[in-house]
């Protein structure tokens, strides 16, 4: 099994619902975003770019690209970052030593560090005391590694897990469910009859920074907007 995702940029309306769903379902502390949506070229989101009055506005959601050749995993000295049997790159929050080598190694800027205790961070940001959001229980992989917990320990790295707490029992990731435009398609790239496999086969796909050889398992369908 090789879980992957196809993101149809033709359908993305840049609403950032996926980022918000991701943030709240995964209990990300203030300032931490596993999933981002920006308007490439613009200095702020939802601003058109172009020249001589020819404007365009596309959106690009970016979270962990679930590389098949993950630099983050290769540099991790303690094996805290690993790829599970479903092809998902995960972090064991109980093993990470917080060296941040993986943050330097990842070309996509998706890795987030717990610079302070998440409860303290929430308090400092002015959240109501005791306000907790996100999936409330721990999630461990079959070897007992802690891959999701609502308040990550201070000093460890975190990132998108393809919603390990949901997808490990066959559900869809929060961003897929939360997207109003059905932009995101999630599935098994090893299964030729899955929708993701079909799309990757039949449509022209783009992967980010392909030239670096990271072999991401997140594929983008380019915004085509045919003009001829």
């Amino acid at each position: 099994m090789r879980l992957g995702m196809v993101i149809d940029l033709d359908r993305c309306i840049g609403c950032r619902s996926c980022a918000v769903a991701c943030k709240s379902h995964n209990a990300q502390p203030p300032g931490t975003w596993w999933n981002r949506v920006f308007t490439p070229g613009a200095s702020f989101h939802q601003a058109a770019v172009g020249k001589d009055g020819d404007l365009q506005m596309e959106y690009l959601p970016v979270s962990c690209q679930m590389c098949d050749n993950p630099a983050c995993q290769k540099v991790c000295p303690s094996g805290a970052t690993y790829t599970d049997e479903r092809g998902v790159v995960l972090i064991d929050y109980e093993r990470c030593i917080g060296c941040r080598y993986c943050i330097a190694a990842c070309p996509y800027g998706v890795r987030q560090y717990n610079w302070e205790d998440s409860k303290k961070a929430k308090e400092r940001a002015g959240y109501e005391k005791g306000y907790e959001y996100g999936y409330p229980a721990d999630c461990r992989d079959k070897d007992g590694r802690l891959v999701y917990t609502p308040n990550r320990p201070v000093g460890v790295v975190e990132k998108c897990t393809f919603c390990a707490q949901y997808t490990s029992s066959g559900e869809q990731p929060a961003c897929v469910k939360g997207c109003p435009g059905k932009v995101r398609i999630f599935g098994d790239l090893d299964d030729p009859s899955s929708e993701v496999s079909k799309l990757v086969r039949k449509r022209q796909t783009v992967r980010l920074k392909e030239e670096l050889g990271t072999s991401p398992k997140v594929f983008y369908l380019a915004a085509t907007k045919p003009i001829r």
């Binding site: 300032g31 560090y113 961070a121």
Partner: protein, 417 residues
């Protein structure tokens, strides 16, 4: 020895301040540093790389003695080994506060990932620590036997002074020869931590490891030079002039090699003219030009000074040149971080809008009034806490060197050779 007591006191207070700062950081998290997600390594790693660099000198000086039979340097092999041991100890100590979970550091040993250059570095640095310790130990054996010191020395009791001296000589040589490749390796591997990362164009070059070696030979030898100058003092300077000249020549020669690598590296970064490379060049010659100028001009000045006949012969020039070199090399280590982290790897071109490189913003990891959460560059400057913690290796090196000089005979003129 009043002076050494003052120095020990100073070293002690540096260590104390750094431990307090480190404690504060452990209590609050690395939020008390100015590092953030987009700029995830800073002063600590730069200082670490600096101390790895100066740790080279010891074994390079002692190996030159044995490999090329340079007798003039022989009186300084002890000081050389000591400086190497102290520096690598400082480097190892500096790495610890950078770990967000230093309490779990054992995970590196229990579950090592042998594909990680960081694990390679742990191995070679531990090896170097052991080798330099043994080197100091073996060289001190005869003196300590004479004094009747028993700590770690008990086994020499059954042997005569001559036997111990022969043993010391033989093993000093062996250790120096085994140590030389390890000395080269600690720089190579430390450089590989950076050079392997294709995500960071500034690091991702095969010239980085050899360049680290050349800088290390220069700065490491300069450290031996400084300690040796301080130890013999101005009075006996003339007596050991030959040795100092050789060391100055080693420094200047390896700087030539360093500048050769730097130029090749700049040409390769610049010639093709890719947008990524242009961004890096505009960072080093633009925003960070003063730091980059320090990195280039200070050592260049030292190189020229150490090549001139007059310079090599003057206590003051050797001292000043070495200090300038240290500042330059420290700037060099800082410049590893700034351009690398402020050129965001995920940059995109939007041909329709005529944009060649647009950096995809990164979440900082902190939410604060009046500050954006998503950034495409981060004006990193270390916080007071970071400066405090960084005193740790400086304190340790000062402490180890002063204590050792005070307790044992490292000074050449007093030795029975």
């Amino acid at each position: 020895m009043k002076k050494s007591n003052i120095l020990l006191g100073l070293a002690g207070s540096l260590i104390l301040i750094s431990l307090v700062a480190w404690g504060y950081q452990i209590y609050n998290g690395l939020i008390v540093t100015n590092m953030r997600n987009s700029f995830s390594w800073g002063l600590y790693i730069a200082t670490f790389a600096f101390f790895v660099g100066v740790a080279a000198g010891g074994l390079i000086v002692s190996s030159t003695v044995y490999l090329f039979n340079i007798e003039k340097l022989k009186p300084f092999t002890r000081i050389a080994s000591l400086s190497a041991f102290a520096s690598i100890l400082g480097a190892g100590a500096m790495i610890l506060p950078d770990m967000g979970r230093v309490d779990r550091i054992w995970n590196i040993f229990v579950y090592p990932n042998f594909r990680s250059p960081l694990v390679w570095d742990v191995i070679v640095i531990s090896a170097y620590l052991l080798i330099t310790f043994l080197s100091v130990y073996v060289q001190l054996l005869p003196d300590r036997k004479k004094e009747g010191s028993r700590f770690l020395n008990g086994w020499t009791k059954a042997h005569s002074q001559e036997e111990v001296e022969a043993f010391s000589k033989k093993w000093s040589k062996r250790i120096a020869l085994v140590g030389l490749p390890v000395a080269i390796l600690i720089h190579t591997v430390t450089a590989l931590i950076f050079a392997t990362q294709a995500s960071r164009g500034w690091w991702n070059t095969a010239v980085l490891p050899p360049d680290f070696v050349s800088v290390a030979v220069a700065s490491g030898t300069a450290l031996v030079l400084v300690i040796a100058l301080l130890a013999v003092g101005k009075e006996q300077f003339d007596q050991h002039k030959g040795a100092f000249q050789i060391m100055a020549l080693i420094v200047a020669g390896s700087l030539v090699v360093h500048f050769f690598f730097v130029s090749v590296d700049l040409i390769i970064h610049g010639w093709w003219g890719s947008t990524e490379a242009k961004e890096i060049l505009s960072l080093i010659f633009g925003h960070y030009r003063y730091l980059y100028a320090t990195e280039l001009l200070f050592p260049a000045f030292t190189m020229v000074l150490f090549f001139t006949e007059k310079g090599k012969r003057s206590y003051r020039v050797l001292m000043i040149g070495s200090v300038l070199l240290f500042i330059g090399v420290f700037a060099h280590r800082l410049m590893l971080m700034f351009p690398a982290f402020n050129a965001i790897p995920l940059s995109l071109s939007i041909p329709g809008a005529g944009i060649e490189s647009w950096a995809y913003p990164v979440a900082l990891g902190q939410l604060q009034e009046g500050m954006p959460v998503f950034v495409s560059s981060w004006a990193y400057t270390p916080t007071l806490v970071e400066y405090g913690v960084t005193l740790l290796p400086f304190g340790l090196v000062l402490f180890v060197v002063t204590a050792a000089l005070k307790m044992y005979n490292f000074l050449p003129q007093k030795r029975s050779m």
